[in-house]
């Protein structure tokens, strides 16, 4: 029963990783780039919510709703200022540029907010503490359910957006072939920037969940990036639903690993990631867009 409960907690944890990973998956799907500052952007989002809560005293959920438009605009600008330029370099340029950006964000956060560990758990109301004991040993927390439901909604909405809306078609067309999309009148700059804005918004949602589930500090970003990337790879790069499943697989691996030894939790996730990475991409089959 403890194993079953551990697996259940892993599903809740994994839903959180899936939300973190969602933006990474979008950007890889549309632009074939991995943003190494993704985790730091998520943590930045958590700080934006934190600042709003500190100054207005509203609940964390209201503060997140206020922070979201800010993050969307920042994401759009990130594409126009940094990423667009990096796409014109070789395949290593986006990695180098976003790695530099990651260091900048971490240390600016350090300067602004000190290295103290923070949490938004207190300002999220009773939700963070409520939980139910289901028959024998299984426990379900309200927050776990919320994160899982939100994760499914986010992925479902993205799926509908990409398959049913005109702008979603434009995004898929641009992902398929940006030059051909330009020929039929699609503004690929705007599509790319919108994809990044969407990615940054979901990263902020991930950062918000991090802040109400546990604690964060200015250097929490790299760990979140690693978990998010692991979720994307385990689920299959470029597949949206895959990322949700990949996140859950990672979460379950971590909670089951913790049953073996508390220190083995993160390790189990890393090992699952490495095995999948080698099995899936080891053959060099992955199609990478050559530098344009």
């Amino acid at each position: 029963m403890t194993l079953l409960n551990a697996a259940l907690q892993g599903v809740f944890l994994g839903a959180f990783y899936a939300v973190l990973a969602c933006g990474l998956s979008i950007m890889f799907g549309v632009m074939r780039i991995i943003n190494l500052a993704h985790g730091d952007i998520a943590v930045f989002g958590a700080y934006v919510v934190f600042v709003i809560v500190e100054h207005t005293g509203v609940s964390a959920f209201v503060a997140f709703a206020a922070a979201l438009p800010v993050m969307v605009v920042l994401g759009y600008l990130l594409q126009l200022t940094v990423l667009e330029r990096s796409l014109k370099g070789g395949i290593l340029t986006p990695l180098l540029a976003t790695f530099g950006l990651s260091i900048v964000i971490q240390n600016l956060l350090q300067l602004t907010f000190s290295p103290d560990v923070r949490s938004l758990g207190g300002s999220a109301g009773a939700l963070t503490t409520a939980s139910w004991q289901v028959t024998g040993g299984l426990s379900v927390s309200a927050l776990g359910i919320v994160v899982l439901v939100v994760a499914v909604l986010v992925f479902g909405a993205l799926q509908l957006f990409l398959s049913r809306t005109r702008f979603g078609w434009m995004m898929r067309a641009t992902a398929e072939d940006a030059d051909a999309a330009e020929l039929v009148g699609i503004n690929s700059r705007h599509v790319y920037a919108s994809a990044t804005a969407l990615a940054v918004a979901t990263a902020a949602l991930g950062g918000f969940f991090l802040a109400i589930r546990s604690v964060f500090d200015p250097v929490s970003g790299p760990t979140q990036l690693i978990f998010a990337f692991e979720a994307v790879v385990i689920g299959g790069m470029g597949s949206l639903w895959g990322t949700l499943l990949g996140g859950i697989a990672l979460g379950v691996a971590q909670t089951l690993g913790a049953q073996v030894h508390p220190q083995f939790s993160v390790m189990a996730g890393h090992l699952l990631f490495l095995v999948v990475l080698i099995a899936r991409y080891g053959g060099g089959r992955i199609a990478l867009r050559v530098a344009r």
């Binding site: 890889f28 780039i33 991995i34 190494l36 940094v82 330029r85 990096s86 370099g89 070789g90 395949i91 290593l92 340029t93 990695l95 180098l96 540029a97 976003t98 790695f99 530099g100 950006l101 990651s102 260091i103 900048v104 971490q106 240390n107 600016l108 350090q110 300067l111 790299p222 990036l225 690693i226 990337f229 692991e230 790879v233 030894h261 220190q263 993160v266 390790m267 890393h270 090992l271 990631f273 490495l274 990475l277 080698i278 991409y281 080891g282 053959g283 060099g284 992955i286 990478l288 050559v290």
Partner: protein, 332 residues
């Protein structure tokens, strides 16, 4: 018209570099130990920059996980010393260990490309960090001292460590220099310029990349050995820190990715910055990160790459150039 490698400038400069190495060897005999320790730090940076450049600049392999080998070098030294090996012999063994471990890692890491390779290496470094944290004999998460170094009188210890650092740096730089100048080197530079084109011409890209990866494994292991020899204390949080990758990326990007001289210049620059802003702190790191990103976007060939391109200057020649009959030169 003929093809030449050396010019008068490059001959003078290469000779000058060798003379600098000899002069450096005399430093511990003349100057006090504070300077010796600082120069050891500089040599570690030069070594790290050269190795990261060998990977990224020539192999197109962007690793964010070379700290894995720095950690193996550092912890390997402590491990061998704890098992009764003389400290300086333990350091050589730990370097060999890092190089040996890089071979099996290369078997799967090199099948990955771009972001998969970068983050895959990072995760490998994290896994090693966790393994060390689980091992009480290696001090677990709290770190461990290389107490066996107490048997040496501090001034001598610093001098020995400096000489070891100089020896490692010279060995690895000369090895890389000779490698790049050999027929193998021509294929490496072809991979740097266009991997697909090189492959289509019959270059065995995978084998060449493995060579660079193992060389960088040895080199970063050697750097880790020097870190523990220079500071005498290590902990997993700092020796396996991704900050090492940040330093390497900064030095190579600013100096000049894919040039031989660039990373050395980048290392000297980083060293100068570190000694100027001794407080370190977030602003200094904000500057490093922003500079690295700007160079990647705006000046991808770095300082030296740009100078080389504009002036046709080669100081430590690893390529060839076309020389016109009357002695008028043009970059190849």
């Amino acid at each position: 018209m003929r093809v030449a490698r050396w010019t008068r400038t490059s001959k003078l400069f290469t000779g000058g570099t060798a003379a600098v190495a000899v002069a450096l060897a005399c430093v511990p005999l003349v100057f006090e130990s504070d300077l010796v320790q600082k120069l050891t730090t500089l040599l570690i940076l030069v070594l790290l920059a050269a190795m990261w450049n060998a990977l990224a600049g020539y192999g197109g392999l962007l690793s964010v996980g070379q700290q894995a080998f720095i950690g193996i070098g550092a912890y390997g030294t402590v491990f061998f010393a704890d098992h009764g090996v003389t400290p300086y012999l333990a350091m050589v063994l730990a370097t060999l260990l890092a190089g040996a471990i890089s071979l099996p890692i290369s078997l799967f890491a090199l099948r990955l490309r771009a972001a998969q390779f970068a983050i895959g290496m990072w995760v490998i470094a994290e896994v090693m960090s966790i393994i060390v944290r689980l091992d009480q004999n290696l001090g677990a998460g709290t770190g461990i001292s290389l107490i066996q170094m107490n048997q040496y009188e501090p001034n001598f210890r610093q001098a020995y460590t400096f000489w070891l650092a100089l020896a490692f740096t010279v060995i690895f730089l000369v090895a890389l220099f000779l490698l790049l100048r050999s027929p193998l080197g021509a294929s490496l530079q072809a991979i740097r310029d266009d991997e697909d084109a090189a492959r289509s011409l019959g270059v065995r890209v995978a084998a060449r990349k493995r060579l660079l990866f193992v060389l960088a494994g040895f080199g970063c292991g050697a750097a880790g050995v020097l870190v523990v020899a220079n500071t005498l204390f290590i902990e997993p949080g700092s020796v396996f820190s991704v900050q090492w990758s940040a330093y390497m990326i900064f030095m190579v990007l600013v100096g000049g990715l894919g040039t031989f001289e660039g990373p050395i210049i980048g290392a000297i620059l980083l060293f100068a910055i570190q000694t100027t802003f001794t407080q370190g702190g977030p602003w200094y790191l904000v500057g490093l990160g922003a500079t690295a990103a700007l160079f990647a976007l705006a000046l991808p060939r770095g300082l030296w790459g740009t100078v080389e391109e504009r002036l046709g200057l080669r100081l430590l020649p690893v390529g060839y150039r076309v020389v016109e009959a009357k002695g008028e030169e043009r970059a190849a």
